[in-house]
Each structure stands twice: as C-alpha cells, then as structure tokens.
Symmetry: C2
Subunit: 326 residues, 2 copies
C-alpha cells in the first residue's frame, strides 16, 4: 500500500491512497482525515486503506491523476524525526572531510541524532539557502515511520512497529557542522528542514527487497541532471533499522508517526557514486589534494528516487532546486 498527503492549505493536508504505479490516488473520506490520524489508529484504519489501494490497482475504482506538485511530505509535521548514521563508509569519509576521527565505537554503538520535525518539506519544495558560504549539501536517505513503540523494544521485536518506509533529502549546511559538533550538543543550525519523497509505502509493498530491517535496493541521486550516486541501501547498512529502533528505545518510548532515518546511503565501491557532495569532495581531496566539487548554489537541482526490481519508482521522486533567499 502507498499513502501520500495532498495539500489543501491546512497544516496536515489530506491523506490519500495511491495505486502501486503512482498514477492515481483516491481520497479516504470517513477512514482517516490525515496521515497522522491514520498512524494514531493504524490497526483500525489500515485494512480499510489497503482495500482502497487494491481497488485502485485492480481498476475497480477510478482514481484522480497524481500531480506530485500537489503533494506535501507524507507527514508535513511529525512528533519526532530521528536520524541515524548507519553506513560506516559515510561516517568515515565525512569525518575525514572535516578532519575528525570516526568514533571508537563506530561499529558497536549506533550514531543517532534528534532532528527538527515541526516543518517537513514536500518533494518539490525549493531548498532555501540564505548564505552559500554555509555549504549546502543534499543527503539521500531512507527512513521508517513507526507506530507506538515502547521503551525496551529489541531489534527482534522492532519489525512489528514499522508502519511505513519513506525516502528523504536530509539537507545539511556542512560548514555550520564543525562549530556545532565542537559544542557536543549535536546538529541544530546545520540541519534546515528535511524534504520527503511523496509516497510512503508499507513494508509488504517492497516485497523481498525489505528484509532484515534493511531495504535492499539502490537509491539514486541525480545532481544537476546527471547520476551522482546509486549506492545499494541494503548490504552496507551496518546497523539495520531494527538495530536503530532498539538503540532509540533504551530509555524512551516513541509515539505513532515517529520517523527514524538510516543516514546517508553509502557504499565502499566508489563506482556506485555518492549520496551527498561531502563524500565526493573527500574522495577528490584524497585523490588530488583539493576539494573540487563545490557545495550547492542557487539553480542547482537534486533528484532522489529508488526503483524496484521491475523498474517502478517506489517512493516517487524528490525534485528540488536550490534558491537564494534573504
């Protein structure tokens, strides 16, 4: 099942069900007004939404053509947005890029940070850059949306709490990071609003590609019209989503609609490219002694998407342009 949120001028938009090909949607009057409401009452509403999706797929029900510009983030505001950093190759490269060492517990203790969740951007939102000196970068990632998840949930149990899988662009101001991490309280100004692909999908929609708490498909980043990276999201995700859930649940519970990210998808094989500029820049620095690729400037574009084994776009495409703002 695929779900999306249609803009209607309200804060939370309107929940819609989308067919498997991303062609048409159906509104869900009487089932759940918003994505958050559906997540709040998932056990009750999920079978009804799924039925609608099946009717769209079979042609039994006519849908309305999807226009991605009319869609917001699946959750335009969420109660928590937690981002992991589960790809070891990314951590090692990005830390090198800022002259920092990887943490000693790199392979045993997951890195997660709490992100801002009150203002989540849709798939075609402009990336607003008040100052290009801040070093704007994209980060192509996956995330899971959780149901109510109790403190103490283990990795073995974690799969029961994964409601939806989404793709996102964790926009980052790289040059604001060193001073913030120096203070040790984590990212804040360096992380402006995060943008999401339009379609949130249930794990079963992913078939065999969803296994062991990982999504085993490549995530493609197209930067200024050219493929910049297409790393496999599965094998090098050192901590699975289930591991990350266990880590997060050590001392806290999470409410329905909590979004938990993978961190930037990254492979050791350089031929797969990168899911952010910072990695590419570090590779250039290692190879040539110089950073060559600049960070993003007004007019630069980024597309992020993932296809299933049959070439169908799973989450729809994030398509953003950097714009100058005061």
């Amino acid at each position: 099942m695929k779900l999306a949120t249609l803009r209607d001028g309200s804060r939370d938009g309107i929940l819609v069900v989308v067919d498997s090909n991303n062609d048409v949607y159906a509104t869900v009057e009487g089932i759940a007004p918003t994505m958050q409401d559906a997540l709040d009452r998932w056990d009750d509403v999920e079978p009804k939404l799924r039925q609608l999706g099946e009717e769209l797929d079979s042609g039994e029900r006519d849908g309305t053509p999807v226009d991605v510009d009319e869609l917001s983030a699946p959750l335009p505001r969420a109660y928590e947005w937690i981002d992991g950093s589960a790809y070891i190759n990314h951590i090692v490269l990005v830390r090198k890029a800022r002259g920092a060492e990887p943490p000693e517990t790199l392979e045993t203790d997951p890195l997660v940070y709490q992100g801002g969740s009150g203002d989540l951007k849709g798939p075609t939102a402009d990336i607003e850059v008040p100052d290009t000196e801040w070093g704007c970068d994209f980060e192509a990632e996956l995330a899971v949306v959780l149901g109510d998840t109790p403190r103490g949930t283990t990795a073995d149990e974690a799969g029961d709490y994964v409601r939806l899988v989404v793709a996102l662009n964790d926009v980052t101001f790289r040059n604001l990071i060193p001073d913030e991490l120096e203070k040790s309280f984590g990212f804040f100004q360096s992380k402006p609003a995060t943008s999401f692909a339009p379609f949130a999908v249930t794990p079963d929609e992913l078939g065999d590609a969803w296994r062991d708490g990982r999504l085993h498909r490549p995530l493609r980043s197209i930067y200024n019209g050219e493929v910049f990276g297409e790393p496999e999201a599965g094998p090098e995700m050192h901590f699975s989503f289930f591991d990350l859930i266990e880590h997060c649940c050590k001392t806290r519970s999470f409410t329905a609609g909590t979004i938990l990210g993978s961190g930037t998808i990254s492979n050791e094989d350089r031929s797969r490219g990168s899911s952010c500029l910072a990695e590419q820049r570090m590779i250039e620095k290692i190879d040539t002694g110089e950073f060559e690729t600049p960070f993003m400037s007004p007019g630069d574009t980024i597309q992020i998407e993932m296809e299933d084994a049959d070439g169908h776009n799973i989450f729809g495409t994030i398509e953003q342009t950097v714009v100058d703002v005061e």
Copy 2:
C-alpha cells in the same frame, strides 16, 4: 490566562482554562478541542479562551475543582522540544563534573539541543528508572511555547512569537551522557521523557516578572521533602529566551506548539542551592574531593514549583517519584 490539558484517554487530552488561583477549570467546548489546536489557531481562539478565564476569575462562571492528577503535560505530544542551556554557572559546573571543559564560545554562542517531543509526561508521572547505574537526575527549568515562528526571526522580534510559559523537569541519565557527547551527535539515550508542570500561562499572567525574555522569579526544587534549590531564573540567564529564539531561527522555521527550554536554572550564589543533583555533587567534589549526594533511586521524590511575588503558585507543582521498572 492559564491553560491546562485534562486527560480523557485520548492522545492529546482536552484543553481547559484554569483560574488564576489554580482552583477551578472550565472546559472550552466549541473553542478548541486541544492545546495544539488552540496554538494552531491562536489569534482566533485566544480572545475566547481569555474571556472564559476572566469569567472564572470573577466568579461569573462556576468551574470544576482542579485535580492535578487528572492533568497531563500541557502538550502531551509536541512537534518540537528544543532545550537551551542558558545559565553559564550550570554549564561550568556540570562540565567540571564530567571532567570536560566549557566550550570556548560559552558566552557568545548559545548551547541548544533537540529533544524528544513525542512523549511528554504530566506533573505527577512516575520517573521510570530501569537502571540506577544510569545516574538519574532532575533538572528544573522553564520553557516557552512558540507560535509559528519564521526563519530569520531576531531577538527583537521574538517576543511576538511567545504564546505560553511553562515549567518542566528535564529528567537526565547523567552516566549515559559522557559516551553520547563523545560521539558529538548530542543527547539521546541520556534524555528520557521530560515532565511538565500542569499550567501553561500567557506572558501577561506573569506581570513585571516577565521582561527582557526572562522570567524574574526563583524556581524551587524540593528533593525528598526538603528545599534543594531556589535559584533566581532571571538575572543569570545569560541568553534570554529571545536570544535563544534568534539562534534557533537562523536556518529553520518553527511550527506552532514548539517548546523551547531555558536549561537548568542556576545561580553562582551557592546559598541559592541547585536545580539538579549534578551541580550539588560537583560542589561537594570541589569542597571535599568526593561526590556525596547519590543520584536518584526508587522512592526519591522531586517537586518543582514557582511562586509569584504574592506567593501564588504560577505553574502548579511537578511532583514526581522515582520508580523501578524492568
């Protein structure tokens, strides 16, 4: 005006208006079902809620007696919970306690971290401690609840976006902090759910005590029945709430209902006591070479409250007991 949230078994509870003496409340049918809804539509609903409050205060309207056990946090789940650390004395002492140096930019660049906002506890919720070795501590703080606050908001403009002022206990597992901050991604496991005093008040309710983005009253912490600290919240708040808002708004906008905390209230004058155990422990270590006061164990109690100049309890009292859980 004072607002609170009555438990009714739902996720967000029911918004109520409370009289100035915290004696009685009125439900607000037809105005706004929940605190979040009121914040979402503040300009429209605020005058109507205020009228109800005035009717309660004048005796024109009969209210229902307040039972704090029936109240949840003003916002049982919020879209963001951001905590500053604006009291220099606290930063210096707590860093000393874990053998860390204060950041070089201590007095010029505010410390803030993004906290978990999906599960906020009410004033009488038990503090659940799965492992006393984690070093459970209370932290008595104030916070403001924001309206929609745009990116780029300056300290001069910030007052326009402060809707409510609240008091809270930012429960912390001290012994989980060093490893987390070593990883530089900020607090996560070390910060279990935060607890809030029952009444959220509009700034005008605070009279002259609310000025310059600071609340000029002492915040009292009573630990196991004895006053543990009563530091003044105003003069030593190095960065005001307005300064913190400007800092947070550098690269992001904030949605209505975002909660922004002061950090642990702390005074240089030791006779004012402390708003957390960690400070007291550090003072002991400096004076005697030993940490004497243990962290919290099952059965320990903490009360947090603030009185106005006439001795009236402003926010109601946080009254929590530590309990053992698996």
